[in-house]
């Protein structure tokens, strides 16, 4: 049995951010994740946007945390070395009527102190993004918005947390709980147990189930599905800034996103569904997404698609975040309904939850030996010829290019595995191997072999993303 001061359920971006924030204090913290790796739920499949602080009114908690979270990214990037770029956000109005809404967004942004926010004429819009549809009549520019690789962000947060003493338990699916002292005794499906004085419920789509298991508030998380398509980095349609249409009542609309790593993402849809495991994409939404994207950038083409995916937003009916000390269980902090702008808000969620824990009676003493930095991973494709040469002289595995499309070396794959990413998807998200245009056609077998060599797993134990997703079924 593991004993800790705080147990955090869920290692998505909220849980990871909370864990990392708490790792700066004299506390024993356990981070529990039901999947084989962190960030494998909602946090891996979203738009990867650091929002610009103009989409929602300040009366919402989510807006206040979004504004605060946005400002925290630059420092986090310096400490944690994840792909992040403040490329700016454009909202494009396609009709004169839509300018009224742009006006509203602008006022809201000013109210929220969104940095540098600007109303744009048609000319200004084209100056900022020459690839726009000629029908665009004007819009909004929020230079403080940006893009981030969400899984890399979570990986870095967790790595930093672990470095500062947080214990991560993966494959830990909370199934039962009983009171224990002032806190809880939590049991996983496989029988592992964790005793904690305080518990943070950051279980994303399953926050309602976890709340029920912990005997706390009843609420319902509705999965809201978003489908996306990823375009090759050589597409002619790549914009330089994130492009939003004018939002509708239920979502911010379908976007064209230049990812930090150079590919282009189009989507998402927004459909409320029932099944929390339904990650299927559909033919109908394919056309919908591309029709919408082409209204902003006409050169967006289905021919450039390299893959598709779907993510589920964990939505509460009220539409706001629910982050509070449980009224029923005073040693439980609820962190639920973290849909958009959850990724942007996450650093601020970490601080907010830390303060709630303090309010709930948790003693917070700063650790003298806290180290906010994680060790940077050299990536051969980012290096100059000279630096690449130096690195290869030190470790020839940097010259073994395993993933040709994204130019990922064997040394980087090995580093991912040593840092705990032992599934094909885990290696992929950490390194980008298999994320390019051939989608693992050339490199999958090599990564499987490296996984077997480095971990001692048998080939049957190698999975795409954990239990049940075996890649190979037999040997000749």
């Amino acid at each position: 049995m593991t004993k800790s001061d705080v147990a955090i359920i869920g290692a998505g971006v909220s849980g990871a951010s909370i864990a990392r924030t708490l790792s700066a204090y004299e506390l024993s913290v356990t981070l529990l994740e039901k999947e084989a790796d962190v960030s494998f739920g909602t946090s891996k499949a979203n738009s990867g946007i650091v929002h610009g602080g103009f989409h929602h009114n300040k009366k919402y908690l989510k807006t206040r945390l979004e504004i605060r979270g946005n400002l925290m990214f630059d420092r986090l990037q310096r400490e944690l070395d994840f792909p992040f770029k403040r490329c700016g956000i454009l909202v494009a109005a396609l009709k004169e009527e839509e300018m009224k809404y742009i006006d509203h967004l602008y006022s809201q942004g000013v109210e929220n102190s969104a940095i540098g926010i600007e109303m744009c004429s048609r000319e200004r819009m084209f100056e900022l993004e020459p690839k726009l549809n000629p029908d665009v009549v004007g819009g909004l520019y929020a230079p403080g918005g940006g893009i981030v690789e969400p899984y890399r962000f979570v990986f870095s947060l967790v790595e930093s947390a672990q470095k500062n003493g947080v214990e991560l338990l993966t494959g830990f699916k909370v199934s039962r709980s009983q009171p224990s002292g002032d806190g809880f005794l939590i049991e996983a499906e496989d029988g592992r147990r964790v005793q904690a004085n305080w518990v943070v419920n950051a279980a994303g789509l399953y926050a309602d189930n976890v709340s029920a298991i912990l005997g706390a508030e009843e609420f319902t998380i509705t999965p809201r599905k978003g489908e996306y398509y990823l375009l090759d980095r050589l597409t002619r349609a790549a914009p330089t800034r994130v492009l939003f249409p004018v939002p509708t009542k239920i979502s911010k609309g379908m976007l064209v996103i230049p990812t930090v790593e150079g590919t282009v993402l189009v989507g998402p849809t927004a459909d409320d569904i029932e099944d929390k495991e339904d990650l299927a994409t559909s033919a109908e939404n394919l056309d919908k997404i591309f029709d919408s994207a082409r209204k902003m950038i006409p050169t967006v083409s289905q021919n450039d698609v390299i893959t598709s995916f779907a993510g589920l937003r964990p939505a509460l009916a009220e539409g706001d975040f629910y982050i509070d000390i449980s009224k029923k269980a005073p040693h439980l902090i609820q962190v639920a309904g973290i849909q958009s702008p959850g990724l942007t808000a996450s650093p601020a969620i970490g601080e907010y939850v830390k303060d709630l824990l303090k309010k709930a009676g948790c003693r917070l003493t700063e650790k003298s030996e806290y180290d906010p930095f994680v060790e940077k991973v050299p990536r051969i494709r980012d290096l100059s010829h000279y630096d690449a040469d130096t690195l290869i002289q030190k470790n020839p595995d940097y010259a073994h290019i395993v993933c040709r499309c994204e130019e990922i070396s064997e040394a980087e794959i090995v580093e991912a595995i040593r840092r705990g990413h032992t599934t094909l998807d885990g290696v992929k998200y950490f390194t980008r191997a298999g994320m390019g245009r051939c989608q693992g056609g050339f490199c999958s077998y090599r990564i499987i072999k490296i996984l077997v060599r480095e971990t001692g797993m048998t080939y049957e134990q190698v999975t795409k993303r954990g239990a049940g997703s075996s890649l190979l079924v037999g040997r000749l």
Binding site: A283, D389, Y398, H400, G441, Y445, K464, L471, G474
Partner: protein, 418 residues
């Protein structure tokens, strides 16, 4: 960093690269092959079935045997070979070519060369490229990856298999998976005709009673962690008929839905590509739009037989030699794909040195006629018993064919199939 000087750098050590390099060397050029894998041979090494070499060696060989013939010749020559070495950049300017590579042995290697041959081959189209809806479980493989896993690594990727696309690799893999003890439930082809060679339909499907569904598509993949089933929908006049859709339970989906020449490096070098082939646009000497850079094999256009690749690459090698000797064609006529022709390669014709043309049709037809016109005058007409898009057609010109050609500087040669 290591800097090396060669007359020619050949990028890629598969059939095309080896054949081109041997020809360059034969013509006295200092030649190096840069290959990213640990062995020469390319994809041939995983093609352990036979059917290779009927034209090149007048005997039926397996892929590795075909490769071995070339590898032996390379070993017997003084062609340099760098294995496990990936080219990362190709720069061309007035003074020459610079090829940058990562080598585990030397670190960064920079080749200074007078000419470059692109022979990087092709990659497989994948699920994302054909946008099959559904979930994203384990068990979806391109046929070539499955072939690699089975034939070289010795792993079985699945027990109950559905193959999408009747391309040759898909057909070969349907048979291969049957031989390793897995059950192949169906091959699904979107076109009303098979896309692989007829001999493969017979030897890989019919002989094993594997059903081939023409004019059908896989319309959905189901399964949470591993593939559980696929939904198959028939097409009626090209439109999916959802009422007639049915499901096939399976744990594996193999995709054989086409090949794409791998020209990302060519794009870096500013080489102009053809939207029809995905390969470089080349003149009658197989030279790309960047002088001194040549292209051949599957990186130029996807061939169905390696024998054609070897022939084309050899021709390319000799053109490299002519180019470096300063011999350029005096006259070149632009070639245009006419009626029912998808593309013709190369894109120019030299009436003073008539050579082979390769083309693909857009139609399936028996008793077809291939016509070559120069400025609307028929200069060659060939009867073809059967044409289909999946079978590449070659046309050879003789000295007599071109004897009375009188092209002007803006003449056009048009190739059509009726």
């Amino acid at each position: 960093m290591k800097e090396l000087e060669y007359d020619v750098v050949v990028i890629g050590g598969g059939a095309a690269g080896m054949a081109a390099a041997l020809e360059c060397r034969k013509n006295g050029l200092q030649t190096v092959i840069v290959e990213r894998e640990e062995h020469l041979g390319g994809i041939l090494l995983q093609c352990i079935h036979n059917g290779f070499g009927l034209q090149e060696f007048r005997q039926e060989l397996t892929g590795p045997e075909f490769a071995e013939e070339f590898i032996r010749q390379i070993r017997d020559s003084d062609i340099s070979v760098l294995l496990g070495t990936t080219v990362i950049d190709l720069v061309s300017d007035a003074t020459g070519k610079e090829v940058f590579c990562y080598s585990p042995e030397y670190g960064l290697v920079k080749f200074n060369a007078r000419a470059v041959v692109l022979a990087m081959g092709c990659r497989e189209r994948n699920r994302g490229n054909i946008r099959i809806p559904g979930t994203r479980p384990a068990g979806v493989y391109t046929a070539g990856l499955a072939q690699r896993l089975v034939n070289i690594e010795g792993y079985i990727p699945g027990k109950d298999v559905v193959v999408v696309g009747s391309g040759d690799i898909g057909l070969i893999m349907a048979r291969r998976m049957t031989w390793v003890g897995s059950k192949v439930h169906a091959v699904i082809e979107i076109q009303p005709y098979p896309s692989g060679l007829t001999r493969n339909i017979v030897q890989c499907l019919n002989d094993f009673e594997i059903p081939l569904y023409l004019s059908h598509v896989v319309s959905r993949i189901e399964g949470k962690e591993r593939v559980e089933k696929v939904e198959v929908t028939p097409l009626v006049n090209g439109i999916p008929d959802a009422d007639k859709a049915f499901e096939i339970p399976c744990d594996t989906l193999l995709l054989s839905v086409g090949l794409i020449p791998e020209n990302e490096l060519s794009k870096k070098a500013g080489i102009e590509l053809s939207p029809q082939t995905g390969g470089a646009l080349v003149d009658s000497t197989m030279m790309t739009s960047v002088p001194g850079i040549f292209s051949c094999g599957n990186v130029l256009h996807v061939h169905d037989l390696v024998d054609y690749v070897a022939e084309e690459a050899r021709r390319t090698g000799s053109y490299v030699a002519s180019y470096l000797k300063g011999k350029q064609p005096q006259r070149q006529v632009r070639i245009k794909a006419g009626a029912n022709v998808k593309y013709v390669n190369p894109g120019m014709f030299n009436p003073d040195k008539p050579d082979k043309l390769y083309l693909r049709t857009l139609i399936v037809k028996n008793n077809a006629r291939l016509e070559v016109k120069l400025d609307n005058r028929v200069v060659k007409s060939v009867k073809k018993n059967h044409v289909q898009p999946s079978e590449m057609i070659s046309v050879k010109f003789s000295a007599r064919d071109v004897a009375d050609m009188q092209p002007t500087s803006d003449s056009v040669m048009e190739v059509s199939v009726q």
